[in-house]
Symmetry: D2
Amino acid sequence: MIRVGIIGGAGYTAGELCRILLNHPQAELVFVNSSSNAGNLLTDVHEGLYGETDMRFTDQLPFDAVDVIFFCFGHGKSAEFLAAHEVPAHVRIIDLAQDFRLAATAGDYVYGLPELQRERIANARHVANPGCFATCIQLALLPLAKNGLLKGDVAVNAITGSTGAGVKPGATTHFSWRSGNMSIYKAFSHQHVPEILQSLRTLQPDFSGAVDFIPYRGDFARGIFATAVVRVDESSDVEYFAKLYKDYYEDAAFTHYVDKPIDMKQVVNTNKALVHVDKFGGKLLVTSTIDNLLKGASGQAVQNMNLMFGLDETTGLRLKPSAF
Amino acid sequence: MIRVGIIGGAGYTAGELCRILLNHPQAELVFVNSSSNAGNLLTDVHEGLYGETDMRFTDQLPFDAVDVIFFCFGHGKSAEFLAAHEVPAHVRIIDLAQDFRLAATAGDYVYGLPELQRERIANARHVANPGCFATCIQLALLPLAKNGLLKGDVAVNAITGSTGAGVKPGATTHFSWRSGNMSIYKAFSHQHVPEILQSLRTLQPDFSGAVDFIPYRGDFARGIFATAVVRVDESSDVEYFAKLYKDYYEDAAFTHYVDKPIDMKQVVNTNKALVHVDKFGGKLLVTSTIDNLLKGASGQAVQNMNLMFGLDETTGLRLKPSAF
Amino acid sequence: MIRVGIIGGAGYTAGELCRILLNHPQAELVFVNSSSNAGNLLTDVHEGLYGETDMRFTDQLPFDAVDVIFFCFGHGKSAEFLAAHEVPAHVRIIDLAQDFRLAATAGDYVYGLPELQRERIANARHVANPGCFATCIQLALLPLAKNGLLKGDVAVNAITGSTGAGVKPGATTHFSWRSGNMSIYKAFSHQHVPEILQSLRTLQPDFSGAVDFIPYRGDFARGIFATAVVRVDESSDVEYFAKLYKDYYEDAAFTHYVDKPIDMKQVVNTNKALVHVDKFGGKLLVTSTIDNLLKGASGQAVQNMNLMFGLDETTGLRLKPSAF
Amino acid sequence: MIRVGIIGGAGYTAGELCRILLNHPQAELVFVNSSSNAGNLLTDVHEGLYGETDMRFTDQLPFDAVDVIFFCFGHGKSAEFLAAHEVPAHVRIIDLAQDFRLAATAGDYVYGLPELQRERIANARHVANPGCFATCIQLALLPLAKNGLLKGDVAVNAITGSTGAGVKPGATTHFSWRSGNMSIYKAFSHQHVPEILQSLRTLQPDFSGAVDFIPYRGDFARGIFATAVVRVDESSDVEYFAKLYKDYYEDAAFTHYVDKPIDMKQVVNTNKALVHVDKFGGKLLVTSTIDNLLKGASGQAVQNMNLMFGLDETTGLRLKPSAF
């Protein structure tokens, strides 16, 4: 059994980790640290856990009792935590924030996108879990980068659920405003673009284009749906590109190329990603979709844990899709 | 032109008043007071007003410039405001809070439910605008009370939109939690029950039953849909009761008895109320529905203003239903 | 391994069975029969299965290859099917329609509500799976009936998701109409009332009251949330009743009494039911909630299969709640 | 009073016309023709009209009694209707289908986008009302075309409500599938692109780029929200472009340039369009939003009627935004 601790336990990604780990056949949830919730029941804070656990939040950090810890902090707080605390060498770390995703500040943290570098993750002691948009968009583009086919700027539009905005209530997550509404934010400047570019350029070093990313606020709770338009050689047919994707994801545990148009609820409440391509003249249209809290956060974090501990990648992650 | 001021201008009911009054052919919106928003554009705060006004919030109270003011405070604040400020005698007041709805503390405030007492409102200088649930539930029961037919306890279930919870974001209005969710609150103890009972007992003094009211949080933004079950004489047929309702609402400007089953979107974004009855043995099932921000708040407040100033009740209130 | 066939495979409950059974560690999905879809991929019809199966619908009925079949027909069609086909004696049957729920027509079908009669189900060859509303409402009332505490008529209001209306599109499941809308249907006459009364009277033979059930159409896809009001002895406090519920559900695999107010998303996408009681004078308010496709249909059907084949009840049913 | 007839009266755009025209101070709704609904009450078919009309659908075509008729047919049926019926010369026609939008088949039909050619509409006897997406996207691009600033291909993403798919229920408008879901359709091949290009090239004849349009199915009922990315001169600042838009729409009755980021519910249930621009290096990002049934269909049709009959454009169209 892998003994697990969660730090920063009050937010959505921590809750989702609990929902997964409490039923993970090879993991044991040892502690969930939250200073603000210390003493409270997990069931009082995290929706959906009644009948599954009597565990309480702790303000303690019993590192000796665990093999791996997940950081579920806000961005910037993981580095702060590590500066203030000594985590024993035997404890592996999976950081869900963006503190160690970029090479410049990563140290020994390995970027945890299995579809990019499964082996490196399997050998890592510290993993930086990718961003939710970053995961969905990379999965749409990696096969092209792998084959050196990205050229020019890539136009990306992606829409995310309200859980992407976190548990703290605010104006843009107020039900009255968000339901039946549509808007964008951080266009061309979202913080996930650098990690996307980093991965694309790892696979295709000569790619010098931009990823022009427009994020939308969706009026749903879970999921990301993305479209990416890439200029391609007009003479190659769509089957050529479809095959590149099928080949690239042939061994992927959760990412599947689908021949038909996809929709988001195919993956909601699962760790899956679906990708589909279509072609119009010299433009390739890639659609991809994930659950932002699972493949986009906590599910992928557990997938990384499985890899780091030598388990089958899908252990504890064969989740029934909600579908509706 | 009726010159209008709004005080407590930052919340949902104030915003809805602005949306109505800016297009009201016989009213002029003179000022919207909000200390927290003084200097800001109305369009920055209230959704939907772009292109309709350049007005800004003020922290001034130019009572001399207006004929009527609307109080859009939180409950309890209207009385506080009146204790701290002298409102000139020529200025009529319509209070949307619950401070003056009950006879014990009403002073000269007239309870502003036109279907109960249109004449008294027309002659009032001060009106206490009814609560949203209170309006919907009274409209379901007044015809029975009028005919002395309420007996025993009345079982009421009603579901409300998120705008009923106000503009301040919180856990139960967070989109992530509320969308696709269902829950109840304040069962058997909602603050609107006393004003409902007051009206029922005005019409039927011998009614000694309870109104057992279970409020639900709906995963929609606008609207209230209520059911009420009342014990009735088994030998009277449903047409008998339907006729009582039709007669009672014959002259109502916005409340209509409908022969078919009703649904909430028939009235969303209008000042209308729909009522329908069905009968099963000795039980009468009444359904009623309103828009909580309109007939349940700001729309009814303007209806009351129209009455107080001798206008046709529907002036400025013939609103296109959103329908979808 | 339990070898499973599904008949009537194109609808929602069949799809949900597939989603469960494809990950059930002790079951093997052998065939899914659908005359209208014969030859099509399951993934083409049932949302959420990409990457999990390459199975196709069949128009064959290979009874010899299975140990159990699930009937996912519309109501009335199960009896028709059995009249037209001979199902071998070794094949157990779990019928999700209502054809065999009532004693008068049940034959050797056992009513499959584990919280009512787990042992009888474990020994059954044929099980009639309860209705969705019927499950949620019975779970709210069984502990009272067990203790002989039902008296008078029970007032039940319950709201269901659109999946309760089935896969065939219609006016009341059109997104344009249903989103943000609220309405009722089949008040006091829903077809699930007889099976509810049958169970209640099994536990409390002297109960002669009615279950006055008002069903609501919810603007969400999954879930049922119910309230029930029962007259009780005013002198007993709420803890007394809470203890009855805790005791009754002490050994239930999926039904939990919760001390706090409950909300529907605590159970969506799980096989769980939550129940909570509150008391106001002489009235007990019970709230209960389930996922209509799981505990209300396919999840409970698999729970029954587990019982019939001697497995732990929760096998294959420890489902991650969607929570959001 | 303008006497109005509606033909093809059972669908969403006809219903919305009724909702507008019943309260239009200078129009009288004389007949609503629907062969399938002849004899039925309008209120039985069109949501939201209780209390506003007792009118019934007719299968008659009393052309003599009207000054203008609206065609609310499916695409292709308007031409069929005109081939089969003689509409008297005095009756003006506003066609909401796409039969006469393109010059090649328009005959004397004037393309009814007031922001493009208000004067021509005012003098027209026959008007082809623009498509919903076409309206929203043109309003995002016309000021650039007017100033000859379109270059290269324009990347457009736009999301529409379920009412855009019409009243007939189907798989992609089933609430169970669409709620909380996201998908695209007709990418790069939507039927509205030709009319968009026609208008753009009218204003900027040298524009030879494509409009790469990806339509999304939104999980809301009303509204369209669009983004368009256009390559522009990097040295011009965003204020330069903002001013072009403000100038272009200075006299527009319903289209407003907004300095702040916009959201869709600012316009839902109104005839307004909002447009906003932002600039990132050499790319201009334009956002625009309308209500698909109003500015995108029936509202614009009435706006055109007002122009054709010499009324103020806003007559009957100062609609209260639903806002929530």
